[in-house]
């Protein structure tokens, strides 16, 4: 409750013209499932890692599309690959493959 109160909201503006979508297109070419996402948030709701870290698969797709690589990393670094998101996804997205692909791209591009 310590954080309760009012404060000035963070600036939510994103300059989409400058966003780096290279990573997104890489992931898209290796695992096109990512395009199926409807952003329902079932994955984030069921994620056991979200209890301990700021882990959210839904948000990570969003950040990937926007090219926010730093934030993307913090959103999936806690992932334990348990596969719960894979099972609950109403669109049947192969979430584990997407996360592993992102992991590989981070290594390949030395991000």
């Amino acid at each position: 409750m310590s954080k309760f109160g009012f404060e000035i909201a963070k600036d939510l503006r994103r300059d989409l013209d400058c966003s780096d979508t290279l990573l997104f297109s890489y992931v898209k070419s290796r695992q096109p499932d990512i395009l199926k996402c409807i952003g329902c948030g079932s994955c984030s709701a069921t994620c056991p890692a979200s209890v301990y870290k700021q882990t959210s698969f839904r948000r990570s797709i969003l950040m990937l599309e926007r090219g926010e690589v730093k934030e993307l990393k913090s959103l999936i670094e806690g992932c334990m690959l348990c596969g719960k998101c894979n099972i609950v996804c109403p669109r049947g997205i192969n979430t584990r493959d997407i996360i592993l692909t992102i992991n590989e791209l981070f290594i390949e591009n030395k991000l």
Binding site: T46, A49, C79, C82, G83, C89, R96, N103, L105, F106
Partner: protein, 606 residues
């Protein structure tokens, strides 16, 4: 018997001798290379095992597995006969050939080609009776091999008659060696028949000899046949290292290495290399593979993967990522190649951690409240696992059972916990999984009870294999329920329903729990049995191991597996894995239940 050719030599033996020298040198270098690539301790244990009891075990296994193929016999008698007739028959031909040389022409002992072409070099004398015994044996084994070869040829066209829906597709090297092998024995029959009236023969060669002489009566014609026989043998021997038949010599080395307790530690160390070369491409793993439900995945089955590994192709990684890791191919492999271990090692070698960081929750795991009055061993720690939290019906039922039985329990991960680590290990990240294992070990050790009951077979396997929990008994909830029923702690009543039990891969083949759930279930339902159960159970397709299976492909595997299970139209499909439950529920029209749910339903409530 006496020698017919004075120097004991004829130019036709040259191709065979060259082939034989080549293969002996090749095998010597190969064996030395593998023994050298073992670590020092492994070499010591291999050396020790040669002077201990395991030597007898190895020799026994060489007889039962390499020569007689008992394991294939148990699967399909005709297929077993095909394999063992060629292997054992040929071995006996070679063995008796050497005996003959030792007995009749001892001065030719050690001449490479002499036992093989013995009939060419000798002629019958008055003491035929002594020879007749061997003639008969040689003809008998030649006949056995010939029947085996004809079955092998037949199998290429109609494999289903030998119990195989699919056989492996061959590479050019395999084809050359295979056709040469097929031709060796008919040519041997013709060659030996040609000389049967000179050097003696029995029911087969004498008979063919009489028929042959209706067409060709001149003995000069026999030389081309002996040339052909020798050349075909040479082709086989030269093609051997580049073909699947390399498994014949390698399997013997594999048996010795395995009985010395050596295991592979990388996908290409000495042991792994021996395993890879021991694969006979028999194709038994193709029919076993659940991936076959999706037609285009058949190229990723174990036999083809091992071929890719053998040729060091980079595509092998793609194939490894497809596998569902159900271990059925390992279970059915007549050579017992632990291909799943190879796959895991391969995954681990390429896995790099680019983003993951699992070092969370540094704060102490709070001690769970426990009542002090109860003796420590009376209660249980219950760990549901991620998947069971997706199917809360399982843990709700199990906890109801515990309450009914008045068993004190601690729900270790009631509010969720970190994952057990197995999904990460299955993706190759064994080192990253250590952080998770540490977390969970701390969680379990904070509880004072000494029995850990798990609902998820995936967790069970990793807790048993990768965790070092001291004095903690780790069991699955189906085993625990079985114990409760057999100790009469809970009482159940029989229902009028029929059911089929699906063995989850990680519980059955993974942890060898087959009978406990069946024993418990037989008290409450009429349990049906099918052929593909226990060690031959088919994966539900929900496996976390496969990285590349899409949702629809998983569903195809699930419905194929389900159709096999419900062949006899049971009222219920029972399983004991939350993931199997989830997968089957989405395709099964009738009810799918976990064993805990059913037992809870049938419990007598006083």
């Amino acid at each position: 018997m006496k020698e017919r050719i004075i120097f004991g030599f004829d130019p036709f033996v040259i191709p065979f001798t060259l082939g034989m020298v080549f293969i002996i040198l090749y095998l010597l270098t190969g064996t030395t290379r593998i023994v050298l690539s073992l670590s020092n301790s492994e070499r010591v244990s291999l050396f020790k095992s040669l002077f201990s009891r395991s030597l007898f075990k190895s020799i026994k296994e060489i007889f039962t597995d390499v020569l007689l193929h008992i394991k294939i016999f148990k699967r399909n008698a005709l297929l077993g006969y095909m394999h063992s007739s060629i292997a054992f028959g040929w071995f006996m031909l070679i063995f008796i050939g050497h005996l003959e040389v030792m007995l009749y022409t001892p001065h030719r002992n050690g001449v490479l080609y002499y036992p093989v072409f013995f009939r060419f070099f000798v002629m019958e004398t008055n003491e035929t009776l002594r020879g007749a015994f061997f003639f008969f044996l040689m003809d008998l084994f030649l006949l056995i091999v010939l029947t085996g070869v004809s079955l092998a040829i037949y199998k290429r066209f109609r494999s289903i008659k030998l119990g195989m829906k699919r056989t492996s597709k061959h590479k050019p090297g395999d084809k050359i060696a295979m056709i040469a092998l097929w031709m060796v024995f008919p040519l041997r029959l013709i060659a030996e028949s040609f000389t049967a009236d000179i050097s003696g023969g029995s029911f087969l060669t004498k008979g063919v000899n009489k028929i042959l002489f209706n067409f060709v009566s001149n003995h000069d014609y026999m030389l081309p046949v002996w040339w052909a026989y020798s050349s075909v043998l040479a082709i086989f021997l030269f093609a051997l290292p580049f073909s699947r038949y390399m498994h014949i010599p390698t399997e013997i080395l594999l048996i010795f290495l395995r009985n010395a307790g050596i295991k592979s530690t990388s996908s290409r160390d000495g042991f792994a290399e021996t395993e890879i070369y021991s694969c006979s491409s028999c194709g038994i793993c193709i029919d076993a593979c659940p991936m076959l439900s999706v037609e285009e995945k058949s190229k990723y089955t174990t036999v083809y993967l091992i071929r890719l590994l053998r040729r060091r192709k980079s595509e092998s990684l793609g194939a490894v990522n497809q596998c569902l890791m159900c271990r059925k191919c390992v279970e059915l492999c007549p050579v017992q190649i632990d291909s799943c271990r190879l796959k895991l090692l391969k995954k681990g070698e390429v896995f790099q951690n680019g983003v993951f960081n699992h070092n969370y929750r540094k704060d102490e795991v709070e001690k769970k409240e426990q009542s002090v009055n109860i003796k420590e061993q009376d209660g249980i720690i219950y760990y549901a696992g991620c998947m069971t939290h997706l199917t809360p019906a399982i843990y709700t039922s199990f906890i109801k059972i515990l309450k009914r039985a008045n068993i004190p329990y601690l729900f270790a991960d009631e509010d969720g916990s970190v994952c057990c680590g197995r999904p990460l290990i299955l993706s190759g990240g064994e080192s990253s999984a250590k952080a998770l294992i540490r977390e969970n070990t701390a969680l379990i050790e904070s509880c004072t009870y000494k029995t850990l009951v798990l609902s998820c077979p995936i967790c069970l396997k990793v807790f048993k294999e990768n965790y070092e929990l001291k004095d903690v008994r780790i069991i699955h909830h189906s085993e625990y329920i079985d114990e409760l029923i057999s100790k009469k702690v809970i009482e159940v009543e029989m229902s009028d329903m029929s059911a089929i039990y699906h063995d989850p891969c990680d519980l059955g083949r993974g942890c060898l729990v087959y009978d406990a759930p069946r024993r418990a279930l037989s008290k409450v339902v009429a349990l049906q049995t099918i052929d593909s159960e226990k060690r031959e159970s088919i994966c539900c397709g929900g496996s976390l191991a496969s990285r590349k299976f899409s949702y629809s492909e998983k569903r195809e595997v699930a419905s194929d597996s389900l159709n096999t299970l419900i062949a006899m139209d049971p009222d219920l499909l029972i399983t004991s894995c939350p993931l199997c439950l989830k997968t089957f529920s989405s395709v099964n029209r009738k009810e799918t239940l976990d064993i805990a749910q059913l037992i809870e339903k049938q419990m007598i409530k006083h």
